[in-house]
Amino acid sequence: MDKQEVRQVVLDIIADVALDEDVSNLKDDVALRDQLDLDSMDFLDIVMELKKRHQIEVPQEDYPQLASMQSCVEYLRPKFQ
């Protein structure tokens, strides 16, 4: 998967988790928390969805890697190979 595809995967998940929020103008280098109303419950959901849809495990100590879209893509891309 290329970067753009991984980005789309994450975006689809965020759109489902953050029901009725506009995710079309997300800035990749800004923390997701600062752009969307995401709390720790939502991050758990993102992790759970990654596991459910793509069998990707994100251990708790790696949650900070999911802070921004850019760091998500960098962290997750190798896991999609």
Partner: protein, 472 residues
């Protein structure tokens, strides 16, 4: 001592949830959403637990619902309601919430009205207790900044905290009145965290009602749970929680079936849960709460609004002090909560409805019911008449509606349908805030985890499922 019995199981699940009330369904949906094999066992033939419904006199009745607290508008995502909708992936508009008009706390010499607009209560206090308004605003600041849902909060008596801000006994009693009767398992006082939860949910957020009552919400939850692949069995109570000396390994149902599970999430209450563990494995106990209630529901041919009466809920107290405690008799007729479900913004009820709740003593009703059924029925009737007298004092003088039918429940009714010892509504005073028990793989959710009300219970189920199953 440990029991060495080897069990043969009929079936196996990741998680068994005991009870299909709000918290059980909330937990179930979360678990099913992430592909856990989950089974909810419910002893009754319908869902809802303490917030269920029934049909009598060919009319639909809600069991406990006066109002849903924690109203927040669509788009608000950080509020408890917003969080729970997000977690369950339910849209705000699916609930069709209708807000209250206004409610009033009625004491012998003073009244305080409030709506879902908090500034109204501030104005009322400024006008009626001018010396207290500064203290009240400081208290509100502390409340707003307090993290009431932290699972680590220690017990702190709420009245002692509040009295550092307010001097007037009457004002303190008035503020506490709705909060105690809508959610305290403790008599006369409550835990400060609980106080903050209730204060936010009632005064800062406010009352609303789903169109069609609690059924709308329950149907939505059941549908969501089913779509996510969760299993639910009605008329299956849990007789025993099976413990192998190290951990909980499953349950035995009232039908004698043994079902294996990695985790058991119980919403049946702390004392009720612990009573299902083998006596020889006893590690803990929880007190049975002393607070319980009666309710009389009047269906009338006309609606309160036909007489220009628009109150949604009246918190009535005829004493200078508010006695939130077991009355040591059948019921306390000197205070009551009176709900007028017609008086939400949208009224979908064809007839008038008035619900009158009294504090009650379980022991009196239980004794009467077991000794003399006829006397029990007479007592219910007498209580209904007393309740109607209280209502008439509060309604306009022109009120002349005809009563079409009356239904009453007592603490023994609550016990029969929910299985709660002592007919409690707010459970045991011994809460387990983080949901853990001394038994590995057994967790509590719902009332005795400590989040209350419809929104609170749902969040309890959600957060316990998140914490003890999904993040593991």
């Amino acid at each position: 001592m440990t029991s060495q019995t080897t069990h043969t199981f009929d079936r196996e699940y990741d998680t068994i949830v005991i009870g299909a009330g709000m918290s059980g369904l909330g937990a179930g949906i979360r678990l099913a959403m992430f592909d856990k094999k989950v089974l909810i066992l419910e002893k009754h033939s319908i869902s809802g637990g303490l917030n269920s419904y029934y049909t009598r006199f060919k009319r639909p009745f809600d069991v406990g619902l006066h109002a849903m607290t924690n109203f927040s508008p669509r788009g608000e995502r950080k509020s408890p309601l917003g969080k729970l909708l997000k977690q369950l992936r339910i849209k705000h508009e699916q609930l069709n919430l209708s807000e209250q008009k206004h409610s009033t706390i009625v004491f012998p010499d003073t009244k305080l009205s409030f709506t879902n607009e908090f500034s109204i209560l501030i104005e009322e206090i400024a006008q009626k207790f001018p010396h207290e308004i500064d203290g009240f605003l400081k208290l509100v600041d502390e409340i707003k900044n307090f993290n009431e849902v932290s699972l680590k909060n220690e017990y702190q008596a709420a009245k002692s905290v509040v009295s550092t801000y307010l001097k007037s006994e009457t004002l303190i009693e008035m503020i506490f009145c709705p909060l105690l009767i809508y959610g305290s398992a403790w008599e006369d006082d409550m835990d400060f965290s609980q106080f903050v939860i209730m204060f936010k949910s009632i005064y800062l957020e406010g009352f609303c009602r789903p169109e069609g009552g609690v059924r709308t919400l329950l149907n939505l939850l059941l549908e969501t749970y089913e779509q996510r692949g969760g299993e639910l069995e009605f008329k299956h109570g849990v007789e025993k929680i099976l413990y192998d000396g190290k951990k909980v390994i499953g349950v035995q149902t009232t039908k004698g079936e043994k079902i294996k599970a990695n985790k058991v999430l119980s919403s049946m209450g702390a004392p009720e849960t612990y009573a299902r563990i083998d006596e020889q494995e006893k590690k803990t106990s929880a007190q049975t709460g002393r607070m319980t209630f009666t309710e009389t529901i009047f269906i009338t041919d006309k609606k309160p609004s036909d007489f220009g009466f628009h109150e949604t809920i009246y918190f009535y107290n005829n004493r200078n002090k508010y006695l939130y405690r077991n009355p040591q008799t059948y019921y306390d007729d000197q205070s009551a909560v009176i709900c007028f479900p017609n008086n939400f913004q949208d009224d979908d009820n064809p007839e008038g409805i008035i619900r009158v709740t009294f504090m009650a003593d379980y022991t009196h009703w239980k004794k009467l019911l077991s000794e003399d059924r006829k006397a029990y029925r007479e007592k219910k009737k007498e209580m209904g008449e007393t309740a109607y007298d209280v209502v008439k004092k509060l309604l306009p003088n022109s009120w002349d509606a005809k009563i079409e039918c009356i239904d009453t429940f007592t603490p023994t009714t609550i016990e029969r349908y929910t299985g709660h010892f002592g007919g409690t509504v707010y459970g045991s005073p011994d809460k387990s805030r983080d949901g853990t028990t001394p038994y590995q793989n057994l967790y509590l959710c719902g009332t005795d985890q400590g989040f209350l009300g419809i929104v609170g219970s749902l969040l309890s189920g959600i957060s316990m499922a998140n914490l003890h199953v999904l993040s593991q």
